[in-house]
Assembly symmetry: C2
Homo-oligomer: 330 residues x 2
């Protein structure tokens, strides 16, 4: 059999697996349950990875033999001990020879996908936000991305919190009127702003529920609401600052590519162009683009890299045309 | 029997009850379990109130007859429906004739205690922060106090979060070095800042555990740490802004008394004097003082007020001498 590698993208709620051959053809791709062992325990996480891999193998029409290499990008994997836990799971499952199993946090594969394997920086602004870069020498740096309580500027969750803050501040005399007060009340289905405390703390809004408020801010900002525009600009400036810090740490100020990914940037040019401007004010030559490939394909590219396989530019272009569609379907 | 009133202070973790006669003598005082019905349900909260009242009645050497009036200040009681729930409990327990039962959130009794029943403003900075005022006409206004996710500036929790943010920002390139990085690592008993995410999100630090980091900031600020001084000044300015908003809303800019209460102000003159300065920059004539009486005694004063009983200045002074000690003991 030819080279065949496995890529895993373990996000907060789902795990994706993709199988790629040595020429960069996607043979099978599948989605399964979470591999977040902090939430469900190591045994259950390993079982979920096993299932999603087997499902991808079935789709690829191949057996359960080990792959030549595997790369697992798993959310929340920050420390050496985290990496060791995930590596142990992959070894237990015989996914690939131990020395060809790579493990890192999922922002690493977001970068590998976003820039199709090239060095550079990725800024994620989904439910959470984080900035991560890696240069040609293999050095990496993360800035921001300390989670919702410590550093989450620009994320959907952050926008949602800011929307609710703006509503309370407008009501208690802190700020001028804002369209966010009525729109937040309507979204939360409450008639009085005092009830927001019951919604947030007693009914315990989830992180993703809070993030679902973020379009209110972007919509109001587009309509010229001053308070909302300030929130958008603040989030953008914070993210651009992270990008600039990473570029400096990795000596990427002269030549830098930045990939944007996550739901917040799906809001389109209104956000993307502001982000481009804020980044280029700090790093004039920086090329800012939307992610080229999804993270799970990024993890396949990293698995190929460990076998010293570099795909051709033509093959990468093929992947860019097809991968997004393939990953939407699973 | 002479007039005899009941005051209840229902905080987040404890409920206090005090019984006072019509001359302002404290007959009995007791502490019991939480009356937060959002956490434990209405039935259990009512039972806990019943127990703490009976305990205070025993200490007072009186029977279980209804009081002439009762005032219940309960944390989180913001809306009319919240007040109705607490009033129903008090009626069920026959604490006093229904029309002599007062109910409000616990910051109302903190104000009544802090200024010994006089109109004015209270700024709380304990685990949480909040600012509330009430003028001679009986109008009231709250600013801030929307809880840990929405508006908690200056609270112990806020200082704790800021300490951890400063540590992460110093480590990921956002800020200059700060004494908070080593002190936070030591306090959390972690050797690497990356482990902070495991401590905060996986081990789920509680609100009070996070608040317990606040002395690190104040201590480092006293030692001249620039980042910590910025945090302190930021918290103070936010709280002074709340005070100023409340004073404006209640027409108290010309004559205003402000009571400070909560653990953050226990740090002493380093915080108190900065707060005094920041408030007086906005409200030049404002008299800033530490709370004169504890909240549970404030609730007794409110119960007396509903019977049109006003204590003499001499009696208030007596209470100020004894009440703090009495309340520390229970």
């Amino acid at each position: 059999m030819k080279e065949c590698v496995l890529g895993i993208d373990g996000g907060g709620t789902k795990t994706r697996a993709a199988i790629m051959d040595g020429e960069g053809n996607i043979l099978g791709i599948s989605v399964g349950k979470t591999s977040n062992y902090d939430d469900i325990g190591i045994e259950a996480a390993q079982e979920n990875i096993k299932q999603v891999v087997e499902s991808a193998q079935q789709k690829a029409g191949i057996g359960n033999d080990p792959f030549q290499a595997a790369f697992l990008g798993i959310g929340g994997v920050c420390s050496e001990s985290d990496r060791a836990i995930v590596k142990r799971m992959a070894v237990n499952l015989h996914l690939a020879p131990e020395k060809e199993i790579g493990v890192d946090h999922d922002i690493r594969i977001a970068l590998a996908g976003g820039l199709s394997g090239r060095p550079g920086i990725v800024q994620i602004a989904g439910t959470g936000s984080s900035c991560y870069g890696r240069n040609a020498e293999g050095n990496s740096w993360r800035s921001g991305g300390w989670g919702p309580l410590l550093a989450d500027e620009g994320s959907g969750y952050w926008f949602g919190i800011e929307a609710m803050k703006a509503a309370t501040r407008a009501s208690d005399g802190h700020s001028q009127p804002t369209a966010l007060l009525p729109s937040v009340l309507k979204f939360l289905e409450i008639s009085n702003i005092d009830s927001i405390m019951h919604r947030v703390y007693v009914q315990k809004m989830s992180r993703s529920e809070i993030a679902s408020l973020s379009p209110l801010v972007i919509s109001a900002a587009k309509d010229g609401d001053t308070v909302s525009l300030e929130i958008v600009n603040n989030g953008i400036q914070c993210m651009a600052e992270c990008v600039s810090i990473v570029a400096q740490k990795l000596d990427l100020m002269e030549h830098c590519e930045l990939s944007l990914t996550g739901g917040v940037f799906q809001a389109g040019d209104f956000i993307i162009e502001r982000m481009r401007t804020a980044v280029q004010e700090r790093i004039p030559g920086c090329k800012v683009m939307m992610a080229e490939l999804p993270p799970v394909i990024g993890s396949c590219l990293l698995a190929l890299q460990s076998l010293k396989i570099q795909l051709s530019a033509v093959k990468i272009q093929d992947l860019q045309k097809t991968a997004a569609v393939l990953c939407t379907d699973v």
